[in-house]
């Protein structure tokens, strides 16, 4: 009995030291990691819709409205879509134009199988999303017919679905929230009115 207690206490001591070390490392790495992530997200937005300024809208789906830097006209929207893939959540950043047609997408975070699912980050895969509308975001394995569908990655259909379906669901939500928000609807009208007034 005494031996078990002793062993347990020794193990506890090891774990406490380890936990303290981890907490210490976490305390100074966390802010840095978050800052790097924010910067990366901002860079990614700029890459998707260049020469724009972004306004964040939070809600059911958080998204950014991209406006042209000089004319202030709405160029499109960017958002991050997430769905569980084969090895964890797959985060995809996407940009759509005013008519919700995809401008481009970028897989920003994933833990998929190296060599198969990780191919989702390559331009060869993401380029096929360009110009696709909501209805064309069906994976070919699910009955879509290319070119009006997304061609699944070899050996990584689940990853492909995670990307395509997440983007699709988010565009759906985006559509709903943009049409609901009187501000944005009015904005596009008022910019048109401004043009006339000028």
């Amino acid at each position: 009995m005494k031996m078990f207690l002793q062993l347990g206490l020794i193990l506890l001591a090891f774990c406490m030291v380890a936990t303290a070390l981890l907490a210490y490392v976490n305390s100074f790495t966390k802010p840095r990691i978050e800052a790097i992530k924010l910067k990366e997200a901002a860079d990614a937005r700029n890459e998707l819709i260049p020469d724009s300024e972004f306004e964040e809208i939070t809600g059911d789906l958080s998204y950014y409205i991209a406006r042209d830097k000089t004319t202030k006209e709405i160029k499109g929207y960017t958002f991050t879509a997430e769905q569980i893939g084969y090895g964890g959540p797959v985060k995809t950043m996407a940009a759509v134009d005013k008519d919700f047609k995809i401008i481009s997408i970028k897989v920003i975070q994933q833990t998929e199988t190296p060599g198969l699912g990780t191919n989702a980050t390559l331009p060869k895969f993401t380029d096929q999303f360009k110009g696709k509308t909501l209805d064309q975001l069906t994976v070919d394995k699910d009955g879509g017919v290319p070119p009006n569908a997304i061609k699944a990655l070899t050996g990584a259909t689940i990853t492909t679905r995670a990307v395509a379906n997440a983007v699709k669901a988010s565009i759906d939500k985006l559509r709903a929230s943009v049409s609901q928000s009187p501000e944005t609807a009015a904005l596009s009208d008022s910019t048109a009115a401004l043009e006339v007034a000028k």
Partner: protein
């Protein structure tokens, strides 16, 4: 003398993949391309050397009965510290190697070397063992990856080596392909050994 011996044994004689057959999960996952194999190999070597040093240092204060849980705690904490520090200070390197870090926690080569070597030997020899095993692991991964990448994708280190007309053998990129490749390589190693 023994330092050199411990250093070189991991490369061929006690190669962790071909001979000891440890760490099959990361082998399957990261030998799809030479780039991944080198990344995984380097990250694993680094962790292996560090964990061997740690385990060797604490071997006298670790009670025998609970050594395995202690090793698991040490290795998991160490890997997490490496992961967090890399993400915070060298984000570029973390981007390319970060994927492999969590895989290292479940890499049984690390635990295997802690149990079979580091807890019985001094720090210097444990370092040699870690480097040797790490290099052997990297080498074996790269050999498997070379075959899989060339046959499955027609490229080597992302450089096209086979003509466009070559129809890639996709099976080599999938998990069964790793086992088939590994089987042939092990057979080859055994054949060479018997000839001696």
């Amino acid at each position: 003398m023994s330092f050199i011996k411990e250093l070189t044994k991991g490369i061929i004689k006690e190669n962790p993949i071909f001979v000891i057959v440890l760490g099959m999960c990361p082998t399957l996952a990261t030998s799809t391309s030479v780039e991944n194999a080198l990344g995984m190999g380097m990250a694993a070597t680094f962790v292996l050397v560090c964990s061997n040093i740690f385990i060797s240092l604490i071997k006298n204060i670790t009670p025998d009965k609970i050594r395995i849980p202690v090793y698991v705690v040490v290795i998991a904490s160490f890997v997490t510290i490496v992961d967090l520090s890399m993400a915070a200070f060298i984000p570029d390197l973390h981007k390319s190697l970060g994927l492999f870090i969590p895989l290292i926690v479940v890499n049984c080569i690390i635990l295997g070397r802690a149990e079979a070597f580091a807890n019985k030997n001094n720090v210097l020899n444990s370092i040699a063992d870690g480097i040797g095993m790490g290099l052997g692991f990297t080498l074996a991964l790269s050999v498997v990856a070379t075959i899989r990448e060339i046959l499955g994708n027609g490229t080597w280190l992302n450089i096209k080596v086979l003509p466009e007309t070559y129809d890639p053998m996709l099976i080599t990129l999938l998990a069964p392909g790793a086992f088939i490749t590994l089987g042939f390589l092990m057979a080859l190693m055994n054949m060479l050994k018997e000839k001696k």
